[in-house]
Amino acid sequence: MVLFEDRPLLLLVSGVVTLLVVASIVGSILSRRVTSGSARATVDNINARIRAWWVMALLFMVAATTGRATSILLFTLVSFLALREFVTLAPTAPGDHRALVWSFFVVTPLQYYLVWLEWYGMFSILIPVYVSIFLAVRTALAGDTQRFLERTAVNQWGLMICVYFVSYVPALLMLRIPGFERQNVKLMFFLVMVVQLSDVLQYVWGKSIGRHRLAPSVSPNKTWEGLIGGVLTATLVGAALWWATPFSPGVAALMALVVTTMGVAGGLIMSGIKRGRGVKDYGALISGHGGVLDRVDSLCFAAPVFFHLTRYFYVN
């Protein structure tokens, strides 16, 4: 276990646990204070979210600190569940059945197997190039031409978001950064912590001082105040975590700013898809949060950008 050899990593883990303990205490105080009906519902939802955060954070930290195999397995499972929620919502036709079987049982495991092999060249083009061609052909062979473009596009985008983008999180482990060897798990922590904290902070800022709606038709609860407050504080958190990364404090702040901005974009895009299909959440697996895809929507879009920025500037 790398956890006890790596002091900064141990600090990160203790930090997350401390944060969760504080959140649980605040949650129970709120729960005792509140009396009115509508506030009650909000507080109950907050407490359900905090409990779910415990489970998710512990799962992530155990998987990440145990090793590469468990990290990859965890995100394979995340992709699988996310893709399932995405496809459930997508208007697929019977002619897509075989292509979907391939997506779930061949493409998803294969993508993560490439992460395991650390075969960057194939990992980065499997889904955008080979799978996109193969699945379109497979659908064409099924013979149903109704809404053909729409259906193949949906299938392809589902794989891009739920599998390709998500696989960039454990792919961070394959980057060879001089002077940072065998410490990449902290990059994963940095990304996941900053993005998820930014979601929480946007929620907190929005609930406390939110006034001006950002995009009422897409995501009614998002406000400009929440967005700016959340992104700025998450950027500060990112800067404060520079010691756990190969970055200087300034670069850590910039990276945090980029990934939180990507996270906001991801949240909006995924909301747009949901609203377009007439639902509020992708699923009900995580109590208080909705589905897996509702939780990882910001991570999906932040991970590939974070990976490529780090790779471009830090891997020679």
């Binding site: 399932r84 929620e85 496809v87 459930t88 019977p94 059945h97 079987v101 779930f104």
Partner: protein, 206 residues
């Protein structure tokens, strides 16, 4: 044991959300009637029941399919104690007699303890649309007025494992157990079947 394992696998594949509009743990004998679009339908309904009630809830299935081959025969007769009936009989008088016999068998097999799961459309719908009901449900309900008729709506299973496909796509599905269907005395067959189908379709909007 095998049944529980199969139920767990089906839950993993079909990820059903279950909703009850009637008492889930009622001890009453019941006839659950569902819309049929996939081979998974029965097992998904069955695994949504409280474990205590599963052992006494039996599917009604076509003999032509489920009495063929060792595995199918074992699963249908031993694991789920299915009531196997003849399907697609000849038209006319002989067909009518055979159909009556099947209904009588279902009623006998229920005894004073078991519940049944039936699919009154008679076959799987390829689109997920609910087809018109065959008359079996009507005759069964007349034979067993003591049993509660419970409509069960299944959503998305035709996308998980459509007719003619061997491998499932693991999508999320939904099972809604509706309120008990009343049986006013003197209602004729057609009116009953239309009402039963409507009660089932209605659950889609729940």
């Amino acid at each position: 044991m095998i049944a529980t394992a199969l139920a767990a696998v089906s839950r993993l594949i079909a990820g059903p959300t279950v909703e009850w509009l009637c008492d889930p743990s009622s001890e009453a004998q019941r006839i659950y009637f569902g819309n049929h679009s996939s081979h998974l339908d029965f097992i998904v309904i069955w695994s949504a029941l409280p474990p205590r009630l599963r052992r006494r809830t039996r599917p009604v299935a076509g003999r032509d399919y489920w009495d063929r081959g060792t595995v199918r025969r074992y699963v249908s007769s031993r694991v789920f104690r299915a009531v196997l009936i003849e399907r697609g009989q000849a038209a006319g008088h002989n067909g009518l007699v055979a159909a009556r016999e099947s209904i009588q068998r279902m009623s006998d097999e229920m005894g004073d303890r078991d519940s049944l799961i039936v699919f009154p459309e008679g076959t799987r719908s390829p689109t997920g649309e609910v087809a018109t009901f065959k008359s079996g449900l009507f005759h069964l309900s007349r034979l067993r007025p003591d049993a509660e008729l419970i409509p069960v709506h299944l959503e998305n299973l035709n996308r998980v494992l459509p007719k003619g496909e061997a491998l499932p796509v693991p999508m999320l599905s939904r099972v809604v157990f509706g309120p008990r269907l009343e049986m006013p005395a003197g209602e004729d067959k057609q009116a009953f079947l239309t009402r039963a189908r409507a009660a089932l379709v209605e659950l889609k909007a729940v």
